[in-house]
């Protein structure tokens, strides 16, 4: 019966010229939308609780602005674009270099977050249960760091399988989606950075 649906003479033309968006693209865009709402909720809660802590330590006393880590994370967005650009032209050597640079920049960011938390916990005695600042700080920054970690696992997976001989040039589409996710994580950091290190320390 389905065959009979081709009623009109121009059905074949229609079929040939029919274009719909790529399903992966649609999927990743809406995944990023739903993730954004998750971050938005945590950011809103952080903003609501600014100044609500009953006891110290307070943000302005203990937070140090992580300039270098921020620069690293944001520039990793550029290096991943460079890697993608190289992959697009099938320059696998270039791709590997830029990809590794991205990984190093991301790893430095995670390392810096770890050192910051170590200082806050052992020196300033700020834990998640100390006060509302600790609660909201660790949960928001931690949520972001966990997303960086997930991105990092995928970045390592890509370079790992490639170095083991997998032809990564067959997976340009998926590499593109991973880089979109990485850009998203970086963009979220801009908001987290503004809210945590600029607004709440004033």
């Amino acid at each position: 019966m389905a065959d009979a649906l081709d009623l009109t003479a121009d059905a074949l033309t229609l079929e040939r010229e029919w274009k719909t968006p790529d399903r992966g693209t649609v999927g990743i865009i809406f995944l990023i939308i739903t993730e954004s709402v998750l971050f938005l909720t945590f950011v809103a809660v952080y903003l609501v609780y600014i100044g609500a802590s009953v006891t110290g330590p307070y943000p302005k006393d203990v937070l140090e602005t992580p300039i270098l880590a921020t620069v690293c994370l944001l520039s990793s967005s550029l290096t991943i674009v460079a890697a993608e650009w190289a992959l697009e032209r099938n320059r696998i050597g270039m791709f590997r270099i830029w990809w590794l640079v991205t990984i190093v920049l991301g790893l430095y960011f995670l390392f810096d977050t770890g050192m910051e938390w170590k200082k806050l916990i052992y020196v300033d005695h700020l834990t998640i249960s100390t006060n509302l600042f600790g609660t909201t700080f660790y949960s928001l920054v931690g949520l972001h760091a966990s997303h960086v970690t997930v991105g990092m696992i995928f970045l390592l997976l890509v370079i790992g399988v490639n170095l083991l001989g997998f032809p990564i040039e067959t997976q340009k589409r998926r590499v593109k989606f991973l880089s979109w996710y990485w850009h998203f994580v970086d963009a979220v950091w801009v908001i987290v950075f503004t809210v945590v290190y600029i607004i709440s320390t004033r």
Partner: protein, 559 residues
């Protein structure tokens, strides 16, 4: 097109040679959207029966004043599990189940955009449900405190914090909802990607069936409404396990914040739940009136409008928490605005019947029932939106009556309409029309006898969630008739279950297109093959099968 790959080699070829193990393997390992859709719907109906039995116990307890059927704690667990199950384990899988089964068929696709993600979504939903029910076994923890959660389905803080909720029951509640929510989000992304990317040639967005349109907006609402819930549950677990202070009022946390986060999810959620009913009505009413849906662009516009306005009305659940008069006024106003697109939908469905040939088969009966019952639900909703009136009605039995009118009479009527309408497509056999009519009329009597009296009990000052009440407060009559109604509903549902089981095995063969349908799912066999269509169809209007059946007067001439 999505390929369907089986990881293991099949020992036998034809399904006729399969033993039990092969069939089980086939269902467990399937990535076929139709099988997953059926599993979603069947598990939803199982949870409906479980939560329905809980409701019967609740009604029995309240039939007479000073009831002693169950202990107070048991009662509190019952209404918590009843509500949580009905919303998260009945309503949500029905959304996923109907969209899974029908969206690819209706847009002329062979499967969902991400079949394996689809299977993942179903199984993680199901195990989320198991996790919630595991609380009956594991909830007491080392404290020996409690079994299932007893905090209510919206679990207001700080009742959920450690000092007031010992043991692990609340943790199972939060975890079960987070886990099944991941499945829901996966399924929503899948529906969106499917509708955007897998439409068959000629199926432009403006030609998509109304069902697909509504499920698309529904999925959008899921994607923006579920993350705040997930965030709130994560915060609750952080509070309970790591000593964070989000909702711990003794250390400055805010109890009202939980309410905001929950209802930012919770109000869009009621539209997420009712949308499948809207979607089903928009297909069933035209077929059984033999007319296209009246005012299609307005219907799509109304759904899109609801999809956005409903994101800005949440605090009408919080008129009594002491917000400023400005906030109360704003949320009263925005809530009433939702009534406008909802009204447009009801008017358009009604207008579809005018001038048509209304065939009152069981699916259409349920649609007519929906129109009248949901009208009442909408109007009591307007009453609750009026903040000063709501100060009286809030958290009373009036509210219980109202939301059961929207869900038990709105959503469930729509779902039954859909289940009867597509039963021949899913099983290839026809249900028993006589039993269907019995089901409908008993159900109409049952729900009205149950939920109309609840409104009156609420007006007489009866708060919700009380396990007992004293004689002489004027509530006995209303509560007793509600209990009678609940048992009538149970009989009606039992008739339905018998009808489904019996007809699926022994019903008359239905043929591929028993309703003389217009959308693409009726263009394939009943039940459809794994690949749906031998050849992908090409369509030129929103009613491709109408065009086919009426070559001299096709729809596309009028587009």
């Amino acid at each position: 097109m999505a390929s369907i790959d089986y990881p293991l080699e099949r020992p036998k070829v034809g399904t006729k040679d399969w033993g039990f193990a092969e069939h089980m393997y086939d269902w467990v390992a399937t990535v076929d959207h139709k099988k997953l859709g059926i599993m979603y719907i069947v598990s939803a109906l199982l949870f409906l029966v479980i939560a329905g039995i809980m409701a019967l116990v609740i009604r029995t307890q309240l039939a007479l004043p000073n009831g002693h059927v169950v202990a107070p704690d048991t009662y509190n667990r019952l209404f918590t599990m009843h509500g949580t199950t009905m919303v998260f384990l009945l309503g949500m899988p029905l959304v996923a189940g109907f969209s899974n089964y029908l969206v690819p068929l209706m847009i002329g696709a062979r499967d969902m955009a991400f079949p394996r993600l689809n299977a993942f979504g179903f199984w993680i939903f199901l195990f989320g449900g198991f996790l919630l029910y595991f609380s009956y076994l594991g909830g007491s923890g080392l404290y020996g405190a409690g079994s299932a959660p007893d905090v209510g389905w919206f679990a207001y803080a700080p009742l959920t914090e450690k000092p007031f909720s010992l043991g692990h029951s609340t943790d199972y509640w939060a975890l079960g909802i987070i886990v099944s929510g991941i499945g829901t989000i996966a399924s929503a992304i899948n529906v969106i990607a499917t509708t955007f990317s897998l439409r068959c040639p000629g199926m432009t967005l403006s030609r998509m069936p109304m069902f697909v349109w509504v499920m698309l907006i529904d999925s959008w609402l899921i994607l923006v409404a579920f993350p705040p819930l997930t965030a709130a549950q994560i915060m609750l677990l952080l509070d309970r396990y790591l000593g964070a202070n989000f909702f711990y009022t003794q250390r400055g946390g805010s109890a009202v914040l939980w309410q905001h986060l929950f209802w930012i999810f919770g109000h869009p959620e009621v539209y997420i739940l009712i949308f499948p009913a809207f979607a089903i009505l928009s297909e069933v009413i035209p077929i059984f009136s033999r007319k296209p849906i009246f005012g299609r662009p307005a219907m799509v516009g109304a759904v899109v409008a609801i999809g956005f306005i409903s994101l800005g009305v949440w605090a009408h659940h919080m008129f009594a928490v002491g917000m400023t008069s400005y906030a109360n006024s704003f949320f009263a106003a925005s809530t009433m605005l939702v009534g406008i697109p909802t009204g447009i939908k009801i008017f358009n469905w009604t207008a579809t019947m005018y001038g048509g040939k209304v065939n009152l088969k069981t699916p259409m009966l349920f649609c007519c029932g929906f129109l009248l019952q949901f009208l009442i639900a909408g109007l009591t909703g307007i009453m609750l939106a009026i903040a000063p009136f709501d100060w009286q009605l809030h958290d009373s039995y009036f509210v219980v009556g109202h939301f059961h009118f929207t869900l038990a009479e709105g959503l469930v009527f729509g779902i039954f309409a859909g289940l009867y309408y597509w039963f021949p497509k899913i099983t290839g056999r026809m249900y028993n029309e006589k039993l269907g009519k019995w089901h409908f009329w008993l159900f109409v009597i049952g729900v009205n006898l149950t939920f109309i009296p609840m409104h009156f009990a609420g007006i007489l000052g009866m708060p919700r969630r009380i396990y007992t009440y004293q004689a002489g407060r004027g509530w006995e009559f209303w509560q007793f008739s509600a209990t009678i109604g609940a048992y009538i509903q149970a009989i009606a549902v039992a008739i339905y279950v018998w009808n489904v089981v019996h007809s699926a095995i022994k019903g008359e063969p239905a043929g591929d297109d028993p309703w003389d349908g217009w959308t693409l799912e009726w263009a394939t066999t009943s039940p459809p093959p794994e690949y749906n269509f031998e050849k992908l169809p090409v369509v030129r209007s929103s009613r491709p099968l109408w065009d086919l059946k009426h070559p001299h007067d096709p729809d596309w001439k009028y587009e």
